[in-house]
């Protein structure tokens, strides 16, 4: 299941990162979103194009296109 499909406020863990844009993938990893990272989607924007994601105690906005490439397991 990808991060964009996760229900709000449900804890999950990063299983795989399959983001096509290598630059974005590396940047997300450098921000701490690596395999095994616990995360939670706090909010989805009105048209569901952007997600508000909590990981490593910080809140980041992630586009749904990018979130599609983050494969997760429920924690």
């Amino acid at each position: 299941m990808s991060l964009s499909e996760v229900k709000l406020n449900t804890d999950c863990v990063v299983k795989e990162i399959k983001i096509a844009d290598e630059k974005t993938k590396i940047r997300l990893m450098e921000l701490g979103l690596i395999l095994g990272t616990k995360l939670r989607v706090e909010n989805k924007s009105a048209l569901k194009q952007t997600l508000l994601v909590v990981f490593n105690s910080s809140v980041f906005t992630i586009k749904t296109d990018v979130a599609n490439g983050i494969i997760i397991n429920y924690a």
């Binding site: 630059k23 974005t24 508000l52 809140v59 990018v66």
Partner: protein, 672 residues
């Protein structure tokens, strides 16, 4: 002289620390990417000069945007001393950058800021444990002083076991030295061929994970953190992140602020300020001139060229202060990140992203500053688009013109005219973004990777300092640029081609030249030399438009200028239709000189020329529609708009077709 760099992630307090260390008042804000260029100041300590440099924030040495590139280059070129500022609330992520610096052998001292917030939420840092790995110290960036203790540095050699393993693994494939490989891990591939670069890049995900494993070891030893602690989350977010609440709240605050700024508090204080100035300086000086000089041109020069420029522009000082108060409150509170998130859906449809809202809001203050901020966009086309639409946003320099000209013709409706101009500018900016996205500047990678800061209580002292700094800058500008340019305008409008003083303004060089091109402006109702000369002078700085009008009409106060604009006998006068046309043209026509210079630096000569030409065209067409519609009725507007939109859609369609044809002959992208 030694150099001291302030390095760190975005929004950790680097500029706050810079201001404390150097006693400066550089722009700070509770938002990602407020600082977009290097800022430095020389400070003396015990007879030694230290050049302290505040760098734009960066998360990693692999840059994601232009401002991160600037910081990276500065770090790699610095041979002296570095301070890494870290936020206690996101220490793990901040240590990632520290680790990259350690890998490269760059020495630094780690300063941990914002610890009180971290501690208040039940967390703690064992600084002694952290000191085993980094020369670390907890600070309060607002109160930090530049002294020997701050730059006292203990070198700590870290045993980066993961790095040794990686180097060994890669050396099996690539014959390079350790230094070359470590540089390559951090994006410097000098001397590497394509296969080697691809191989190193393929190792990056594993390297990043190894770095974070190493950091986890440090964090487990040195940090005790409440399991549920989230930095950047607020209870109010449940309400604020609902689009209707955000939209309605923002519009209500914005329009109420405009009313307060321009029609209630502003004029009262402005008139009082100019009254005091007139009583204390202008009146005694002019009395002295009348008694001492019997030369009419000297008296006129000071009266019209110098004092009327000061009078008409300085009246708007309170409005400028209130506008910056509004923007600073938005910036410091953390609301801008929320707005960026909520508006991202809508802005993405136009080919922008949520971060563009920060550029638009800053544009309300100064277009030049917000053009510079566009560099924090991660994608080239996105950055260029933001820079190109930015001049359509009404900056504070255009305000005096709106208020004065609208007051002359619309009386109690002035407020709505000014609000209408703001909205028109915004609408044109957004339509322009959409057209650019559909034609020459399509956004290819729209990543809104934005960190949410927490909502903060407002620091009244800091807001006061920001408003005071901007007020001083405005006054300096009035007495510097505006007065000196006002003097030049006065000379040009009172000197004929024989370089003789003339009281007949129609014979002056400025009005003679303006008169020659005024015919071009006849279709938009601005065929008077006075109006055209104000437009020409406005390219230098928009504030000069009002001072040019007051010089031309010999008006000593705003009230006199307002009444003179409606009199047919005045050198510059308007009808209601031409006044609307004038205001619309000023709203949309080309950026000022300083903005043009920044545009050229940021987006290059081609797009700067494009910006000037497209803005002039759009301003002319829009003014034409407004002027002719008022003259001939609403049907004219409907037909004109239909023609303009047909042309626009044809251009978009044609551009798409040309691009599609090019695509068929190229196999460089996935579309084929």
């Amino acid at each position: 002289m030694r150099k001291l760099l302030l390095i760190g992630n975005p929004n950790v307090g680097k500029t706050t620390l810079f201001n404390s260390l150097t006693k400066s008042h550089e722009h700070t804000g509770n938002f990602h990417g407020v600082t977009v260029e290097e800022k430095g100041k020389l400070v003396n300590m015990d007879g030694e000069g230290w050049y302290i440099v505040d760098l734009p924030g960066l998360y990693s040495l692999l840059p994601f945007s232009y401002e991160e590139e600037i910081s990276k280059n500065a770090i790699l070129n610095n041979k002296d001393f570095n301070l890494v500022i870290s936020d206690a609330n996101s220490l793990k992520r901040n240590l990632y950058l520290c680790l990259q610096l350690k890998e490269l052998g760059i020495n630094f001292k780690l300063l941990i800021n914002n610890y009180n917030y971290f501690k208040k939420h039940g967390n703690s840092i064992d600084i002694a444990a952290l000191k085993k790995y980094f020369d670390a110290e907890i600070i309060d960036a607002k109160k930090c002083k530049f002294n020997k203790n701050l730059i006292k540095f203990n070198k700590i050699d870290l045993n980066l076991t993961y790095l040794t393993q990686f180097l060994a693994k890669i050396k099996e494939k690539i014959k390079k030295s350790d230094a070359e490989l470590i540089a390559a891990f951090n994006g410097n591939f000098a001397g590497f061929n394509d296969d080697e670069i691809a191989f190193v890049n393929a190792q990056l995900p594993a390297l990043i994970m190894a770095r974070y494993n190493f950091i986890d070891g440090i964090i487990n030893e040195a940090v005790k953190q409440n399991k549920n602690f989230v930095y950047g989350k607020s209870k109010l977010d449940k309400i604020l992140l609902k689009p209707p609440v955000m939209f309605a709240g923002f519009l209500a605050v914005f329009f109420a602020s405009i009313y307060l700024i321009f029609f209630l508090v502003g004029p009262l204080v402005g008139d009082a300020l100019v009254g005091v100035l007139y009583f204390l300086i202008i009146s005694p000086f002019m009395n002295f001139l009348y008694s001492a000089a019997n030369n009419i041109w000297i008296i006129q020069f000071f009266n019209e060229g110098v004092f009327s420029s000061i009078n008409t522009v300085l009246t708007f000082l309170p409005q400028v202060c209130l506008l910056f108060l509004f923007l600073t409150v938005l910036e410091d509170s953390g609301l801008i990140s929320r707005m960026a998130y909520v508006l991202d859906d809508f802005l993405t449809k136009l080919g922008l992203n949520g971060k563009a809202i920060y550029i638009i809001l800053m544009g309300l203050g100064c277009n030049t500053m917000s053009t510079l901020i566009s560099r924090n966009m991660s994608e080239r086309n996105l950055k260029i688009k933001c820079a190109l639409i930015n001049p359509f946003v009404s900056c504070m320099a255009r305000l005096p013109v709106y208020v004065l000209v609208a007051s002359a013709f619309f009386g109690k409706w002035t407020y709505f005219v000014v609000v209408g101009l703001y909205l028109l500018g915004l609408a044109v900016a957004l339509i322009m973004a959409l057209i650019l996205n559909k034609t020459i500047l399509k956004t290819h990678s729209n990543n809104l990777l934005l960190e949410f800061p927490p909502l903060k209580n407002l620091d009244v002292k800091h807001i006061g300092v920001v408003v005071k700094t901007n007020a001083i800058d405005f006054v300096k500008r009035v007495f510097g640029v505006i007065v000196s340019m006002g003097v030049i305008v006065w000379i040009l409008s009172h000197t004929n081609f024989k370089f003789m003083y003339t009281q007949e303004i129609g014979e002056s060089m400025l009005f003679f030249l303006a008169d020659k091109i005024a015919i071009l402006f006849a279709p938009i109702g601005l065929n008077s030399a006075g109006a055209v000369s104000a437009l020409i002078v406005g390219i230098m700085a928009k504030e000069l438009i009002v001072s040019t009008l007051s010089i031309a009409n010999n008006a000593q106060s705003n009230a006199a200028l307002i009444s003179s604009l409606t009199l047919a006998a005045s050198p510059v006068h308007f009808t209601t239709a031409s006044a609307v046309s004038f205001l619309v043209f000023i709203l949309l026509y080309c950026p000022c000189i300083s903005n043009i210079a920044v545009l050229k630096k940021e987006v290059g000569g081609f797009y700067t020329a494009f910006s000037i030409i497209s803005q002039l065209t759009i301003a002319y067409l829009t003014s034409f529609v407004f002027y002719q519609s008022i003259q001939h009725g609403i049907w004219f507007a409907a037909i004109s708009l239909a023609i303009i939109f047909t042309i626009l859609f044809s251009v978009i369609h044609l551009t798409k077709k040309v691009k599609h044809n090019k695509c068929l002959t190229c196999n460089k992208c996935h579309r084929n």
